[in-house]
């Protein structure tokens, strides 16, 4: 299969990036190194090419009704120019994908994961029967990038006349660039304050270069997928294929806060039942007590019996601890509970800790 490239491919190569295959795309996994990039986002700011993410435009008189049916969150009271996290479930409550939904002036936009884009489009279209809605995959129209970190606002303000202080957490704003429409939002996937931008494709490289240039004296670095993963992991943001997938529900994944069980939506009955009666597994955060790094896929055992599985694990660069996320039975989910992670055949002690592992002022979705 031919790998897709973003408009910034040549820039990444020129910046010394290592390019890897990710969800059908050829993407930068790192430039300077994951640890340096991770710290740059925590301490200054970093720029991410996330053009592999998909965007689906939803219009029509039933758009609100359709999204309330399709997704776990309630969009009824949502103000224009804001964004909200939501999960898309199958009828059995397991996850099709997790999404960010933007309510804009004349339309809605659903941002989906690169690897799920085709599946999501098919699923959304199949659910649209009987609704007056038009769905259009507009991923090719926008270049998407993220600019995240404590200095992101200050650096971006050098390029933007609009006062960014007026753009609140999870607010969005449409703007014009050379007569074309772009969208700027105070959203992100790092646990830091920051922005995500949807730029008309032809201007993607120009905006990327301008932000890197504006931040060159502030410690701003380009950031690859490696640090994108370690940053989201410390902030305990779910990653599809790891914490959530077609075998897990948002209730099991501790995403109940993103589900309004008082409205009707696909999968709601199962989620409500789980909420009331409990689940057989729960997502927890843990830290290693013995030497060893937990990795996604490793087994979790208690008293010699396999009881769960690690979904993500790595050394947390900000905490300087080996930590992980994983599914365990509810009786092992309490903070302070100890269990073993099986690392290359060897039971290695770990303990449930409070999550997120890392929280800054921009915590949450």
């Amino acid at each position: 299969m031919e790998l897709k490239r973003t408009p910034l491919y040549d820039s990444h190569v020129a910046l010394g990036a290592k390019m890897v295959e990710f969800s059908g795309w050829e993407m930068p996994v790192q430039y300077k190194g994951i640890l340096d990039e991770h710290r740059a986002v925590r301490n200054a700011a970093g720029l991410f090419d996330i053009d592999h993410m998909g965007q689906v435009r939803v219009t029509g008189s039933d758009a609100l009704k359709f999204l309330n049916h399709l997704l776990t969150a309630n969009f009824s009271a949502m103000e224009i120019n804001t964004a909200k996290y939501a999960v898309m479930c199958y009828a059995d409550g397991t996850c099709v994908d997790d999404t960010f939904v933007y309510r804009l002036q004349n339309e809605w936009m659903v941002v989906v994961n690169a690897g799920n884009r085709d599946k999501d489009n098919s699923w959304m279209n199949a659910q649209a029967d009987g609704f007056d809605v038009t769905l259009k995959d507009v991923s090719e129209e926008f270049y998407m990038l993220a600019f995240q970190g404590p200095k992101a606002e200050e650096v971006l303000q050098k390029l933007e006349s609009f006062d960014l202080k007026d753009l609140k957490y999870h607010a969005a704003r449409e703007f014009s660039i050379h007569g074309e429409r772009g969208i700027l939002a105070r959203t992100g996937y790092t646990g830091e304050d920051g922005f995500e931008l949807f730029i008309p494709n032809a201007h993607g490289k120009h905006v990327w270069d301008a932000i890197l240039d504006a931040g060159k004296d502030d410690g701003v670095l380009p950031i690859g997928l490696g640090a994108r993963d370690s940053l989201r992991f410390e902030a305990k943001f779910a990653l599809y294929g790891h914490e959530i997938d077609a075998n897990t529900t948002p209730i099991e994944a501790a995403l109940g806060w993103a589900c309004d069980l008082n409205k009707d939506f696909i999968g709601r009955d199962v989620l409500l039942k789980q909420k009331l009666e409990g689940t057989s597994k729960k997502l927890v955060g843990f830290e290693m007590l013995e030497r060893g790094i937990a990795r996604g896929g490793y087994e979790i055992a208690s008293n010699g019996n396999v009881v769960g599985v690690v979904t993500s694990g790595m050394p947390a660069p900000t905490l300087e601890k080996n930590i992980g996320l994983g599914y365990v039975p509810p009786e092992l989910a309490k903070v302070g509970t100890e269990f073993d992670v099986i690392i290359r055949g060897k039971p290695t002690k770990a303990r449930v800790v409070k999550t997120p592992f890392y929280a800054n002022r921009a915590r949450g979705r």
Partner: protein, 136 residues
């Protein structure tokens, strides 16, 4: 990290296709991972090495080198007994990044099976196979 820097291939070493190097020091063989390998792995954060005295054949895994992203097995380029391990890497695994062919060595093997040396590559062969994409 040597990202952006030229990858080096010292001439006095032998190389395995799995990216380990061997340096002979009298009757002892010193083993580590190559500059190419440390660069490909990125920031190394954890090294797990075998117990001294363990005997392993060429091609068997003797430990694990972990970067932020992933755990990678390392393999015996030659068979023999583990006579020493680089315990300094427990507290400073990043030495494998900064000095892969020197202070970042992993194990010493004594005695080693000299016949296994013939299956290893010289620097020029290893380099050309990497540059042609035959091994990666």
């Amino acid at each position: 990290m040597s990202s952006g820097k030229e990858i080096t291939y010292p001439n006095d070493l032998k190389y395995a296709a799995t990216h380990e190097w061997v340096k002979l020091d009298g009757d002892t063989a010193i083993v580590g991972i190559t500059d190419y390998a440390q660069d490909a792995l990125g920031d190394i954060v954890f090294v797990e090495l075998p117990t001294v005295g363990m005997e392993l054949k060429a091609g068997e895994s003797f430990g694990v080198v972990e970067s932020v992203k992933a755990a990678s097995d390392v393999y015996m380029p030659i068979g023999g007994a583990i006579s020493s391990t680089n315990d300094a890497l427990t507290n400073s695994p990043e030495t494998v990044n900064t000095d892969a062919f020197g202070a970042g060595w992993l194990i010493k093997v004594f005695p080693y099976n000299a016949a296994d040396l013939e299956k290893l590559m010289d620097a020029a062969t290893y380099k050309s196979k990497i540059e042609s994409g035959e091994i990666h």
